[in-house]
Amino acid sequence: MKSMPGFMDEKKINMKIAVLSGKGGTGKTLVSVNLAAAAKASTYIDCDVEEPNGHLFFKPEGVQEENVTVKIPKADDKLCNACRKCVDFCNFNALAHVKDKLIVFEEVCHSCGGCILVCPEKALTEREKVIGKVQKGTSDQVSIYTGILKIGEASGVPIIKKLLDEKNPKTNKLTIIDCPPGSACIVMESIKDVDYCILVAEPTLFGVHNLNMVYELVTLLNKPFGVVLNKCLLEEKNPAEKFCIEKNIKIIERIPFDNELGTLNSNGEIAVHKNEKYRELFSSLLNTVTKEVWHETTINP
């Protein structure tokens, strides 16, 4: 029999929590940033590499950055015999062969390396191409990691891999992963190794549609999860809440539609630092999630 979780419980302190939603603007960053801040000592990782904005709240100091590269094919036209196996193989149509020359569309290439494998003449080699960068800094006791994808690049997955499997120091800290919106590859990569997923949902029909997308994803990947209903109006019907009840999904928090919270957030302030009631709200959410994770590891070790 395990003891009840305390703050010294190692599993609890080390847990990785992902915050996701089916669309942008539901409150992923609000929840992520404030959870990380409520925990005091924590790691915040911004995987929303197309428009990372967690750093706007934390304003990290001592920022160091590192480029992220992918491999792109390069053809030796002298070796190429125009068999076009590479062109036919590429599922993303990143290659064309015209007038005895191979044209490589770098932005379309997903760096799978398949063209190099299928080339019978060994006419293709790889070269490095920078697609973005990761930044690391600190804000009080929070370590901030930010992934930034260059505009026009096909996929942010390599940046997320770098953010997550990097030599991110193995400290005994809570890790909050602020995910990209949606349920595509880039989100799957972000939540692959997390202990728990928080799905943030809006109280609209559109919100339900988007919640359903991430609900299907976390169910498919067999991740423990709970829903945070954001922008709740007491007197209004909440379709997202109805969806949760119908699907038997656990609602772990309700964040009110609140002018003060919205104003703080749009001014780039961290709400838990500004008002005790928000510290209580997000500390309570953190507590709930911690219990959920502890419960999961107990019943499903």
């Binding site: 599922n91 993303f92 149509n93 015209v98 569309f105 996929s155 919106p181 349920s183 590859c185 880039i186």
Partner: protein, 122 residues
């Protein structure tokens, strides 16, 4: 000389397709023999890079001229590398456009749009 046109259907009365990369068919018309062949555009079902693949199909068809309402920049790169001339379509069927071209009534396509690459992806 061969002319290529994106088409909505498989006959000369068909409308020109508004999309190049996602057109269901391409008409390949031989000006000398007056023969028309409609080929399936296998690029239309691509998840991405349809314009590039469609352009490769046009290059492989040995067309000298492409008549299209619009063209993305990646497709244009392929078409231009093959020295294929690009003209802008007029309203009407593919036949109307062939007639207009042979009567020297079409103008070159000047605006190449930036494409929609990646915008449907996350």
């Amino acid at each position: 000389m061969k002319i290529a046109i994106p088409a909505d259907g498989k006959n000369m009365e068909s409308n020109v397709c508004v999309s190049f990369g996602r057109a269901p068919y391409f008409l390949i018309y031989d000006v000398e023999t007056k023969k028309s062949i409609f080929i399936n555009n296998s690029a239309a079902a691509s998840t991405g890079g349809a314009g590039i693949k469609a352009a490769q199909i046009i290059v492989d068809s040995k067309a000298n001229v492409l008549i299209t309402p619009r063209l993305g920049e990646n497709a244009a790169d392929v078409i231009k590398s093959a020295d294929i001339k690009i003209y802008k379509t007029i309203a009407g069927s593919v036949k109307d456009n062939i007639d207009a071209f042979t009567a020297n009534k079409l103008s070159l396509l000047n605006e190449i749009h930036a494409g929609f690459h990646g915008r449907e992806e996350n």
